[in-house]
């Protein structure tokens, strides 16, 4: 356990050779893994907390860090170093997984900015969708009943397919909105926007995420119901 001041702005030095660190995970001077620094996923990759990430660069950095951190390189090392390598390489992989996926990336950003807490995800229908969701649920019930009674399903299936396509389009819409808001976030960071402005953008991102997750669940459940019918 280390209590080193990882969160201050003082230059960080390697635990082993005391050279100044270029990144939080590993010393570029002596190659030793670092135990104490708490880094978020963006910092781990040396990235600002922006939502647009260049994929080729991310992958290249991922591979570069994998060379240094992977447990294969520490088979003959001390128990302590082996543990550290396991911890660091799993963090690297987790970080890569989160940053690679545009949705997981937004979720992660909001989590570290304290704007989205675990279990806080709202599962209510977004108000503007209420009517359509109500209709959809009715159609689903009808389908289930008809199926149980052994009735003809073709007409109902057609309606559900239409609903599926409709919500599929809404999913694309929300993704487009998310992209636009993500751009707003990046721009806000660039111009050094104040906290209030940033919080406003994050609230919008949060709302997009909730809506997206709600619509996605709908699409999945309709697809499942149709596959079973």
């Amino acid at each position: 356990m280390s209590t080193q001041a990882a969160k201050t702005n003082a230059p960080l030095v390697c635990m082993s050779c005391h050279e100044r660190l270029q990144g939080p995970l590993v010393c570029s001077h002596c190659g030793k893994l670092q135990a104490s620094q708490e880094a978020d996923y963006f910092a781990l990759f040396g990235l600002p907390r922006k939502l647009r990430i260049e994929m080729a660069g991310l992958e290249q950095k991922f591979l570069q860090l994998s060379w240094k951190l992977h447990p294969d390189n520490f088979v003959n090392a001390t128990e302590e170093e082996r543990e550290l390598s396991l911890k660091r390489s799993s963090e690297l992989n987790d970080a890569y997984r989160a940053l690679k996926d545009p949705i997981a990336r937004v979720e992660y950003l909001l989590a570290i900015e304290g704007e989205r807490k675990e279990g806080e995800k709202k599962q209510q229908a977004p108000p503007e969708l209420l009517e359509e969701v109500f209709e959809l649920n009715e159609s689903l019930d009808e389908l289930r009943e008809a199926k149980a009674a052994g009735l003809e399903l073709d007409g109902m299936k057609e309606r559900l397919h239409a609903a599926e396509a409709n919500f599929g389009r809404k999913l694309v819409e929300v993704d487009t909105e998310m992209q636009a808001t993500a751009k707003d976030w990046d721009n806000a960071l660039d111009r050094g926007a104040d906290e209030a402005a940033r919080k406003k953008i994050m609230a919008r991102l949060n709302e997009h995420l909730n809506r997206r997750s709600y619509i996605r669940n709908l699409v999945v459940s309709v697809a499942k119901e149709l596959a079973e019918a």
Partner: protein, 613 residues
Amino acid sequence: MGRTVGIDLGTTNSLVAYVDAATGQPKCIPGPYGNTLCPSVVSLDSDGSIIIGEPARKRLLTQPERTIYSVKRLMGRGLADVKEEVRLFPFRVDSASDKIIRVQLGGKSFTAPEISSFILRELKNWAEVYLSEPVDRAVITVPAYFDDAQRQATKDAGKLAGFEVLRLVNEPTAAALAYGLHEKKRGLVAVYDLGGGTFDISVLKLISTEEGDIYQVLAANGDTHLGGDDIDNLLQAFVHQQILQSDEIDFSPRGEIAQELRKELIALKHELSEIESATLRLPLPNGKIFQFEFTRGMLDALIRPVVDRTITPTKRALADAQLNAEQMDEVVLVGGTTRTPMIRRTVQEFFGRSPHTELNPDEVVALGAAVQANILERGVSNMLLLDVTPLSLGIETYGGAVGKIIPRNSPIPASAQEMYTTGVDNQTGIDIHVLQGERELAKDCRSLARFSLKVPPAPAGLPRVEVKFLIDANGILQVAARDVRTGESRQIEVRPSYGLNDAEIERMLEESIEYAEQDFAERQVIEARTEAESILMATSKALAGEQASALPAEDRAKIDAVVVALKESVAGNDYRLIRKRIDELNHATINLAEIVMNSAISTALKGKSVGEV
């Protein structure tokens, strides 16, 4: 520290390989029968001794109730999982084996990891004899689609065999490593691995970087109960049907005749990979001979369902990698079952390109394991494997649903943190059920472990325990918990729901360890003695012959002295000394050998010692 080897612990055959220091190339090690394939068959002799490999395979016919094959299918499984296939096995499974399957051989019962450890120990012996060095560390391969319990069982088997298991490597990944090294291929590679009992499909990206070559697995999928065995079972059922139709006798293949039939059918299957038709001849218990003409077309029709079952996992792996079949730069075939022409054709059609078959499909996995063993042994390397977890890791939530915490095809090591609290006042434990699989309900996923987090009594919702789930580079789960309020952390012992616990492993280890430690030295002494005896005999024979009179007296005196020294060393247990004296005698008898040879045949063998001719 001894040498590190790579082992392919297969359903049908197992192999051991190493990297030759001089050439840098991996090589499979032959056993005492000159074959690199060790049949994964174990038999218990009536005197209690354990017979492994080829001689055990022969006993499948004579002692089927004392002999077990395809034990890999039982690794890390519960009785309910294997009910169907156990019916087809001639050996008996203990019906009382609820937590871990026990197999009855003769009067004794063994777990699957124990039986696998016998095979691993045999391969260890092969390697030690071949390399003349102790071998104590290994990389063992597993099907990419093996779950946590199956992996843990394999690791346990390695430990029981006296190995430090440096890493479990996925079979298709190992194959890609062997191919990458051999063919210097780059780009997107699909590895289609259909073995005796398991099917794996992996999609990899082979990348050259400044530091070296990276083998990055993008996605893996498969079926751990699909392979050549299933083809054999289908063939057996088909032939059984034919016999019933033709002979109208109640013939049910059991015991010896079942094994005889199985052996004939496997031979027939192999034949039909080479030629278009073959005849099966089977003597029946009623004295008649059942004869049936098989064509390749019939075999193809029979195995079509097996081949079709490989397509869905293949499509899923490609979808997870967000790629399609046409984008693959290379397709590699692994596993003996891919020798079947119909399977090759199907793979070729699916990917639209002819698959690689340059390396022996039986050996390629072991060769890759040896490469990885060599990488790990040296610690630094210009090659790096980045693998994934094949199955999603989840936690049971309210109503028996599963909350996914690490999705399938995440690069490993991978981790996830979950926060837990209590639901009622003074609750002292939080039950956690860890699962693996893609289904939404806990009952449809594979149960990995259940454990209870201890919490001090407190009002509901006040305790906060953070649980960290970590899948290590072997694909095996580790769990650690931390009390957020006190900061107190502890490691949680998670043994798979269908596995051995540490105490059981310790006990089994104790039982096997006594001979394990002496094994190597003992074998070396025995071999050195045998060799000494043969050279002593050859020398005394040569000295007794009439040509020996031509030998100068000083040579004679020198030989006599070394003979005495060698005989003395043979009485002791120092195999290095025995070898040294053998070398000395070989050297001292060069002139003698020459004289004997000159008079006997020709001068072609000049310069050789007595021991060598």
